[in-house]
């Protein structure tokens, strides 16, 4: 029987990495990022990467780790604040950046995964984002053509998966993991727990197993929080 469950991140990425490849990475900020797989890519030393990811991590966390080692040639992102090393490489011209509106990025990756090479959107019309893109008028309104993104590899982080790769996410850690998972020729997932088939309700699956080609358990996770906000309990 086909086995998708690998020993560790290095094993799950074996034979998949090559210099100059394109990777779609899930996560929003440091929430729901594929930490173990990022670490394994750093260890593997693969260079010249083009990475589509909403953010670029922060210094020394998330994709920031691959920036520090200069393995990244280009980022396709919507927001890259909170990252000094990123700023340095970007301003010095070492790192190429394609800014892409957040919704357009999510839709481009979903489209790539759904066999759609291009779609029209109102987002970015009349802005720098529209430069060099086809404009088409539908029902009297202008839209720009955006391209679907297909990647050589998707790396995502889930909560639980069953042995067949059916996967569920937890709260807002779902974010970009869902569309990114579909855009790669191969999707490797890391999860907090792998459970036997039959443990998950078939109506609750967020990402059907067909998308998950390889997976690992990455626990225990030391989940980082960027902005820790709380409120005080009212006195009784």
């Amino acid at each position: 029987m086909a086995n998708k469950h690998y020993r560790d991140a290095a094993a799950a990425l074996e034979g998949v990495l090559f210099n100059g490849m394109t990777i779609c990475a899930g996560g929003f900020g440091l929430c729901g990022i594929p930490e173990r797989l990022i670490d394994a890519i750093r260890e593997a030393g693969t260079t010249g990467l083009t990475i589509a990811s909403n953010n670029a991590g922060i210094d020394g966390e998330g994709l920031g780790k691959l920036l520090r080692t200069r393995q990244v040639a280009k980022m396709i992102s919507s927001y890259v604040g909170e990252n000094k090393e990123f700023e340095r490489q970007y301003l010095s011209g070492e790192l190429e950046v394609e800014f892409c509106p957040q919704g357009t990025l999510a839709e481009r990756c979903r489209a790539g995964g759904a066999g759609i090479p291009g779609f029209y959107t109102k987002t970015g019309v009349g802005t720098l984002v529209a430069e060099g893109k086809e404009v088409k008028t539908f029902d009297g309104e202008d839209y720009i053509l955006e391209r679907g993104i297909r990647a050589d590899l998707s790396i995502i982080k889930g909560w639980k998966a069953d042995e067949s790769g059916n996967l569920i996410f937890r709260k807002t850690a779902r974010n970009f993991n869902q569309p990114m998972a579909t855009a790669g020729l191969i999707c490797v997932a890391e999860v907090e727990e792998v459970v036997p088939v039959g443990s998950l309700n078939p109506d609750h699956i967020h990402l059907p197993g067909i998308y998950v080609k390889r997976m690992i358990v990455g626990s225990p996770y030391d989940k980082k929080i960027e902005f820790r906000m709380t409120r005080a309990r009212e006195a009784a």
Partner: protein
């Protein structure tokens, strides 16, 4: 006496209606959440994949898997729902959100908005701002009437790179409120902060309005 940050948020909150689904930007717009009238159901959307944002969590409720679009920890409500980014922006771009309240560096008299980039400065990216202004049914900008150096922010034409073209429906500043009924109409000065005169606005604004 100009409105303070909370005053501006309170003014924007008057545009809320029962049953609205709303996306609030970072900064002053976030304060709109504190000004939702009692008994009114307003559901807040977070573009990272959540409907029904709750307040900041108690210390012992903090969950790294539960953050808002500003990457701050939040809590969930009984009516909350989670979804992926592609679904979140399908919601935003498909016109399902009733209202968004955003900050801005400039708004032009034709409804253009600039709020993501200052040439020559480090570019952080537009995040979801371009999607919000292009897709949400009604776009309200909350911003200081003038920049720190006193320059106008409601201008004849934006000088900064645009976030969206002809998308703003209403502007709330610390001094006044401007509104237009549709995207072909000019902005109208409809309200003044206490003690502010039409003349005050005239000299501190380069945009044409009626």
């Amino acid at each position: 006496m100009p409105w303070d940050r909370n005053g501006m948020a309170a003014r924007a909150a008057k545009e809320l209606r029962d049953g609205y689904y709303v996306n609030l930007g970072i900064g002053i717009p976030t304060l709109v959440a504190n000004n939702i009238p009692d008994g009114m159901t307003v559901t807040l959307q977070s573009e990272n994949g959540m409907l029904g944002i709750g307040p900041f969590p108690y210390e012992d409720e903090i969950d790294a898997d539960l953050i808002n679009a500003g990457k701050q920890t939040i809590s969930e409500l009984p009516q909350s729902a989670y979804f992926g980014s592609e679904q979140s922006f399908a919601m935003i771009r498909g016109g399902h959100i009733d209202l968004t309240v955003l900050g801005a560096m400039e708004v032009a008299e034709n409804g253009d908005i600039a709020n993501w980039m200052i040439p020559g400065k480090m570019i952080k990216g537009m995040g979801g701002a371009m999607d919000l202004v292009a897709g949400v049914k009604r776009v309200i900008v909350v911003m200081e009437h003038n920049s720190k150096d006193g320059g106008p922010k409601f201008v004849a034409e934006c000088t900064l790179p645009l976030t969206g073209k002809n998308v703003v429906d209403m502007i709330v500043t610390d001094l006044a409120v401007f509104r237009r009924p549709d995207h072909r109409a000019p902005f109208e000065l409809v309200e003044l902060a206490p003690g502010v005169t039409p003349e005050d606005i005239r000299v501190r604004t380069t945009a044409r309005y009626v």
